[in-house]
């Protein structure tokens, strides 16, 4: 039974916004789209963007999400907001009022986070929707172009998607083009008095290792057509938009939960709204046994900061940290114990995952460090462009081995995709079982 109308939502929105302001939140204006279940799943498939280019993987994502909800593996979806100015958020028609109120309070937290966290500085929230729209249009144009067609476009997208997270790990800094880099090194070489740069080869490519695979390929492949470069750069730009979110999943969700709780309690809800809210809230922040629930962890950490140093310290943290620095700084032994965190790995001999350390006196620091290896983009291997052979144009990649070996069959597939894009030979080096491995 629908227990709300748009008017009710507007009334509550007024109260929620007033409360949010009292707490010191400062967010982009929010546009709520009220949509039904299918549109919601659709919006989720396209990461919330109202217009997005076509690719079969989004169809697959739709089917998967739909199946998960259909099988009851997850409750109904309730929250989806995108980092834009104004922020676009979705409310699912089928949800009751109490869920909408939680969602709306939650969204203030997200939007505030988008606006203030330093990782989001270069996401260009003002123009993002226009950019995505134009990208979708261009890709559609290529698909409909009789001389290109959907198969060729898909081939490029398939390949580009495989390396879309191979980006530089400093989203707050802009990548410099080869031309800019060349100016930079020319200056250094000419002003070098100590002879440190005597051997520096200004003609080599790249001048320093490049971590942005897609941007590098766009810039230096000799085999791409103009439309192909455009498609690759569309994927690369989209990554730019989403990488900050990957870097701050724990903080961002924690922040939103932290404030939806405050705001909802501030609203003095009648019991028929308060009780379902508490139920849903508890569901959101419950620990996921065997995994780490980012909502739960982030929420706990902000609670802890508030208790120890006051709410102002929370606002500072949401501005300056990303997940790695946030967890490193604030996840202490007490919290590890409270969350009952442990680290585990796959043991060949037992053919099963087995617990290595638990959060006791000796183990907790190691558990925290292992957690740090999986937050942000740390669960994604770092691969950099080392050099391009001047004669053969062979692309040399280097995996930065940090103790964890690559999954070889996957790496081989991805290298196939990189070869599709690069068009000349591609080589990659890594370490597998303590031996140098050439792919």
């Amino acid at each position: 039974m629908k227990d709300w109308s748009v008017e009710t939502l507007q009334e509550w929105d007024k109260k929620i916004c007033e409360s949010g302001k009292r707490f010191g939140l400062d967010w982009y204006p929010i546009d709520y789209e009220i949509i039904d279940y299918h549109e919601m799943i659709g919006a989720m498939a396209y990461t919330g963007l109202p217009t997005h280019y076509r690719h079969w993987s989004f169809g697959k994502s739709f089917e998967q999400t739909h199946t998960r909800y259909h099988l009851g593996m997850e409750g109904l979806p309730y929250e989806m907001i995108i980092n834009s100015n104004p922020s676009i958020a979705y409310l699912m028609k089928e949800n009751p009022l109490s869920t909408h109120l939680l969602t709306m309070s939650h969204c203030l937290g997200h939007s505030d986070f988008f606006k203030h966290n330093r990782m989001f500085k270069h996401t260009d929230a003002d123009n993002i929707l226009v950019r995505f729209k134009s990208a979708a249009k261009r890709i559609n144009k290529y698909m409909e172009d009789p001389s290109i067609g959907i198969d060729k476009v898909e081939r490029i997208l398939d390949a580009a998607h495989a390396v879309k997270y191979q980006v530089q790990r400093t989203p707050e800094r802009r990548r410099r083009s080869h031309k800019e880099m060349l100016e930079f090194y020319k200056d250094i070489v000419s002003s070098d008095k100590e002879g440190k740069y005597d051997d520096f080869d200004l003609e080599k490519i790249p001048l320093r290792p490049d971590y942005n695979l897609l941007a590098f390929i766009c810039e230096h492949s000799r085999n791409l057509e103009e439309w192909e470069r455009d498609v690759i750069s569309i994927v690369e730009k989209e990554s730019h938009h989403f990488v900050p979110q990957a870097y701050t999943k724990i903080m961002n969700e924690g922040w939103a939960v932290f404030f939806h709780e405050k705001i909802m309690n501030d609203l003095n809800l009648p019991p028929d709204l308060q009780i379902p809210f508490i139920k849903l809230h508890n569901q959101v922040v419950r620990p996921h046994v065997g995994r780490v629930n980012p909502y739960h962890l982030g929420y706990k950490l902000f609670k802890k900061i508030e208790e120890e140093s006051g709410i102002q310290a929370c606002f500072v943290a949401r501005e300056v940290h990303d997940d790695v620095s946030f967890v490193r700084k604030h996840l202490d032994e007490k919290m590890c114990r409270e969350l009952n965190l442990f680290s585990y790995s796959f043991k060949k001999s037992r053919r099963a995952n087995t617990i290595d350390e638990i959060s006791d006196e000796e183990g907790w620091a190691s558990v925290r460090d292992n957690l740090l290896k999986t937050v942000g983009l740390n669960s994604i291997p770092v691969v950099r462009v080392e050099s391009v052979d001047k004669k053969t144009h062979t692309l040399h990649l280097q995996h930065e081995h940090d103790g964890r070996d690559l999954e070889i069959p996957y790496a081989n597939k991805v290298l196939g995709y990189i070869t599709d894009l690069w068009g000349d030979e591609v080589k990659m080096f890594s370490i597998v079982e303590d031996e140098i491995w050439e792919f």
Partner: protein
């Protein structure tokens, strides 16, 4: 203050991408079928039997860390009492090799198809070659002819032109009625009622009659694996004929040193020991042709499967009879099922012992577009061979 917008449209924006995804899965099914056709379970089964085809999900690959001791992950123990050494989750079954598919969380689709649907998948773009317009007897060929339009149908048969026409008609009506104003740039979306699909009507087309002779060596030298491959190939040929033609006659002849005509069931299931004299099977075939299938009114197809180890003394008889059969047949295919090791041995023998010319080589002068030789050693080669025999791109 926030803005609230209620969506009025029922746009299904992911429809096209879902369609595309489904297409990729279909393609994956087709690929898996090639593996499935040689699986014992479907050989010799009747047409309505359902077969499960496992299809791997369309995976999106990225660089990932493998499951090894150095790749530690972290989880929460919740309320549980945990200690180092505890096992998490289930034991993994030993995986088969290093395939990029044994990963945890891998999506697998199991698609159920009937044999008939399977045949449709496989054979839709093939055709029996050289189907001369001989004297018409029993056989009618089924064809589908496009005729008219209907409201419901499958996506590939959507008539864009008709659909568009209807939308334009509806749009013009809406403009007249004043419910739609083209000036204000609002979209005028397609409506379900606009959709028109091309209709197909089955038609029986007269066609010549055909008989297929399946000849197989079931002697001792045909090991279990080889028989298995031969069966798989015949199975495909049989399904193909059954699928495409209403009244194709099939004759099964199994032979060792002697031959007999057997039923389909016996043909696929019974094995015997003994030597190999291919000529006996050819003799029986010639006899049967003479008695029951006169070449002037029947298209004759002959498929032979053996391991190439015919008794050398028998070769002259084979070489005498094969040209006779060839002259009456539309297609004769001589197939040798060889194992990897035997093909190596053959090379070795050929180098050291040049006089042992194989039947395979002796048949070389006969080959042309009616007589074909083929060697297969694995189930993966069956489908390509089949395509080579029946594909339109033949020649």
């Amino acid at each position: 203050m926030s803005i609230f917008r209620e969506h009025k449209s029922i746009a299904d924006r992911s429809a096209a991408d879902r369609q595309r995804h489904k297409k990729l899965i279909d393609r994956a099914i087709k690929d898996s079928i090639k593996d499935v056709i040689a699986e014992e379970s479907i050989i010799g089964q009747s047409g309505n039997k359902k077969i499960k085809i496992p299809v791997k999900g369309i995976k999106e690959y990225q660089f990932v860390y493998g499951s090894n001791q150095n790749n530690k992950r972290v989880g929460s123990g919740g309320e549980h009492d945990i200690k180092p050494g505890d096992q998490i989750g289930k034991k993994q079954e030993p995986s088969q090799g290093d395939q990029a598919g044994n990963q945890e969380g891998e999506e697998r689709y199991e698609v159920e198809v009937t044999l008939e649907e399977l045949a449709e998948y496989l054979f839709s773009d093939l055709n029996l070659p050289n189907l001369e317009k001989k004297k018409f007897k029993f056989v009618k060929e089924k064809t589908l002819k496009r005729k008219g339009f209907r409201k419901a149908g499958i996506r590939p048969r959507l008539s864009k032109k008709e659909t568009l026409k209807r939308r334009i008609r509806r749009k013009n009506a809406a403009i007249k009625a004043g419910t739609h104003n083209p000036e204000d740039g609002e979209r005028f979306p397609f409506h379900k009622d606009d959709l028109k699909y091309k209709d197909l009507k089955p038609r029986l087309k007269e066609s010549s009659s055909a008989v297929a002779f399946f000849l197989m060596d079931v002697s001792g030298s045909m090991g279990k694996d080889k028989k298995y491959l031969a069966r798989a190939l015949f199975f495909l040929l049989y399904q193909f004929l059954n699928h495409r033609y209403d009244n194709v006659e099939v004759v099964f002849i199994s032979h060792t040193t002697t031959s007999k005509e057997v039923t389909e069931n016996e043909f696929f299931t019974r094995g015997e020991s003994g030597g190999t004299m291919m000529s006996s099977a050819l003799e029986l075939e010639l006899d049967i042709i003479q008695k029951r299938f006169h070449p002037s009114s029947w298209n004759i197809y002959t498929f032979y499967c053996g391991d190439g180890e015919n008794w050398p003394d028998d070769d002259p008889a084979v070489l005498e009879m094969l040209p006779q059969i060839k002259s009456m047949s539309q297609l004769v295919c001589y197939t040798e099922i060889i194992s990897e090791s035997s093909s190596r041995r053959r090379q070795f023998l050929f180098g050291s012992d040049a006089f042992s010319e194989e039947l395979w080589d002796k048949l070389q002068p006969l080959t042309n577009n009616i007589f074909k030789r083929a060697r297969i050693s694995s189930k993966e080669e069956i489908w390509p061979l089949f395509r080579r025999l029946f594909g339109r791109d033949l020649k």
